[in-house]
């Protein structure tokens, strides 16, 4: 594999996100590089999920710009955004699987839509992605027939369907048992290593954040701005880190 560490995949500049007239976050700027695991941290209600929705093209920012490579994401039209998002995968918080399709069909739908593969090939690809997520053997089950944690892993398998360059994960390890959570972390690291995938993760799970994140922003709810930037494990140790961010990273021990 080639690794061009310097390549910037997402570049956010001076983003302002919020609802209607309400501003949740101002002046958010960061870069996500190829093969980087980037974490968005913050307490509940700080605008993490809104920021993620802005990055995924589901919601327009109130101000600021996002570049995917050279493409101005919100400066272009819907079609341009769809093209960018074709190379991204998304794992939603609850899995958001299509409930009237089996797991294999859930994963296969994107392959069917975006590639010229044969039916049999699509199924093989779908089974592989499910196996990577630890769901071998469950391909013909419906989402309502498996447990919540398995639904989450199936959601990840679906996000992986097209070998995306960027993966957005919204609370990936919430609702997973510790062993599955660890497995997920390992899989994230493995994919980064082998396929050079970039990750944008919204998470509360400190253990997993420390284990995998290369870079992060901390969204502070009081000042409505980014108060800490850097590798979470370093931020937690650094006495210079802003106090709210340190409190978050040390579970309130500061």
């Amino acid at each position: 594999m080639l690794q061009q560490e310097c390549e910037v995949r997402i570049c956010a500049r001076d983003l302002q996100v919020g609802f209607d007239g309400r501003v949740l976050m101002r002046h958010v700027s960061f870069d996500v590089r190829a093969g980087e695991i980037f974490c968005i941290m913050g307490v509940s209600g700080s605008g993490k999920s809104s920021l993620l929705r802005v990055l995924m093209g589901l919601k327009a920012p109130q101000a600021g710009r996002i570049f995917y490579g050279d493409t101005d994401f919100w400066g272009g039209d819907q079609e341009a955004r769809r093209n960018v998002m074709r190379h991204a995968g998304v794992l939603f918080q609850g899995g958001a699987l299509w409930s009237s399709m089996t797991l294999a069909e859930n994963v296969g739908l994107l392959l069917q839509q975006y590639t010229d593969m044969e039916e049999q090939e699509i199924r093989e690809h779908a089974l592989l992605k499910l196996a990577l997520a630890g769901l071998a053997g469950f391909e013909d089950y419906y989402p309502s027939e498996i447990s919540g944690g398995m639904r989450k892993r199936a959601g990840l398998a679906r996000a992986l369907a097209l070998d995306p360059r960027i993966l957005f994960l919204d609370e990936p390890s919430a609702g997973l048992d510790p062993v599955s959570g660890r497995m997920l972390d390992d899989l994230i690291l493995e994919l980064r290593e082998t396929l050079n995938t970039s990750f944008v993760i919204v998470s509360h799970e400190l253990q997993s954040i420390f284990a995998i994140a290369d870079n992060s922003v901390y969204l502070d709810v009081q000042s409505r701005s980014v108060t800490a930037v850097g590798r979470p494990a370093d931020l937690a140790r650094d006495p210079e880190t802003e106090v709210n961010a340190r409190r978050f990273l040390t579970r309130g021990k500061v």
Binding site: E124, A131, A136, D140, R165
Partner: protein
């Protein structure tokens, strides 16, 4: 992703050769593997070689592998699975990351028994399955009826979980908010009846009998029928969708877990509200229908307004109103039961909710027609 500037092969390629007098199959993957590209021609050759009885060992290697994604992984998994099925010795000399992903992909299923058996879908088995399911379905419906009766008993004893505010909201929704559409449809239906009668009756110079035709037609059956059809589309479908979605979201389970009877909370208020409101709407529809007939009679046929009203009262005995109310009450019960039953028995997917709504409306309409037939026969026998 990026590709090597000094690309040797722009496409995926596989090289295979047999060594050690055909015992060892040496396969090396190279080039550029991209999802969506077709498999290289040699790939099929490799799979063919694997079926050769002389081959006892397989060695997988990577030379000049530039860029790959999971399409390579899919190919390798297929090769390894085929080899293992034949009991070959497999040795991997692949990049480390690829080996790790392979071992993840090849890890055994959580349990061999989890693989779901494909169900047999031939015509006969489907027919048989339907026939076998019919009796339990009917039994289930009667069980549902029993639940409603038990719930009604709790209501009388004052132990019901039904909330008055829910009942009032549902009454408002299915009664008051249905008035505009009932007005429109019934008025138009009265007009239609009058026009149809007009064409025939003018041949005998008996235009005034249009009043009787519209009056009896609307009061006895058509008023109730219009309300039944409109309400099964408007309300029956809504009940099925609402309770069905609540089941998908585990909201019904949340009620049960909180010790609240879902039937008390969701079904009973709807059945009561619709049973009460459908006869009232029927009366309203009757009046609107007669108004429609009156419009045609007075403005187009040139009948005297008093003459028309007088003829209506003279020609339509009061019992027709009562018969119409009987129809209306039955229709209300049928629509509410059909909507709630299919909603409460809904599967746990979005598709199942759609199916529940469709079935609820179809069953309500069929039920209305069947009830009409039965009541009509009974009325004829009784001479009402």
């Amino acid at each position: 992703m990026q590709s090597n500037p000094q690309e040797v092969a722009a496409h995926a390629s596989v090289q295979a050769e047999t060594r050690k007098q055909g015992r060892l199959l040496h396969v090396s993957v190279c080039g550029l593997w991209r999802m969506g590209d077709s498999l290289p021609a040699e790939a099929h050759f490799v799979l063919q070689c694997l079926t050769d009885a002389r081959v006892r060992e397989l060695s997988l290697n990577a030379d000049d592998l530039h860029h790959w994604d999971t399409s390579l992984l899919v190919f390798l998994v297929r090769v390894i699975r085929t080899a293992r099925k034949r009991g070959l010795t497999v040795s991997l000399n692949l990049p480390e990351g690829l080996t790790r992903l392979l071992s993840l992909a090849l890890s055994a299923p959580a349990g061999a028994d989890v693989v779901r058996r494909q169900t047999d879908e031939t015509f006969l088995s489907t027919l048989g399955g339907r026939a076998l399911a019919l009796l339990p379905d009917i039994a289930d419906f009667f069980y549902f009826l029993g639940e409603i009766v038990a719930s009604f008993q709790r209501l009388i004893l004052g132990q019901s979980h039904m909330r008055l505010q829910d009942l009032m909201a549902i009454v408002y929704e299915c009664g008051v908010r249905a008035l505009p559409i009932i007005s429109l449809t019934s008025l138009l239906f009265g007009l239609i009846l009058a026009f149809v009668g007009w064409v025939q009756l003018t041949q005998f110079g008996a235009q005034v009998y249009v009043a009787g035709l519209v009056g009896i037609g609307m009061l006895r059956i058509m008023g109730a029928m219009m309300v039944g059809v409109v309400m099964s589309g408007r309300v029956g479908a809504a009940y099925a969708a609402l309770t069905g979605t609540m089941r998908v979201n585990e909201e019904v389970d949340a009620l049960s877990a909180a010790g609240i009877y879902p039937v008390d909370f969701l079904v009973l208020p709807r059945v009561l509200a619709l049973t009460a409101m459908t006869p009232l709407l029927t009366l309203y529809a009757d009046i609107m229908g007669i108004a429609g007939g009156y419009l045609v009679g007075v403005t187009m046929m040139g009948l005297n307004p008093y003459e028309y009203l007088n003829a209506t009262v003279q020609m339509t005995p009061f019992r027709h109103v009562l018969v119409g109310l009987v129809y209306g009450t039955f229709f209300g019960v049928i629509i509410a039961l059909s909507g709630c039953f299919h909603g409460m028995r809904c599967g746990r997917s979005a598709g199942a909710v759609g199916l529940a709504v469709t079935t609820a409306v179809v069953h309500a309409l069929v039920g209305i027609i069947l009830a009409t037939a039965v009541i009509t026969v009974v009325c004829t026998v009784l001479g009402v």
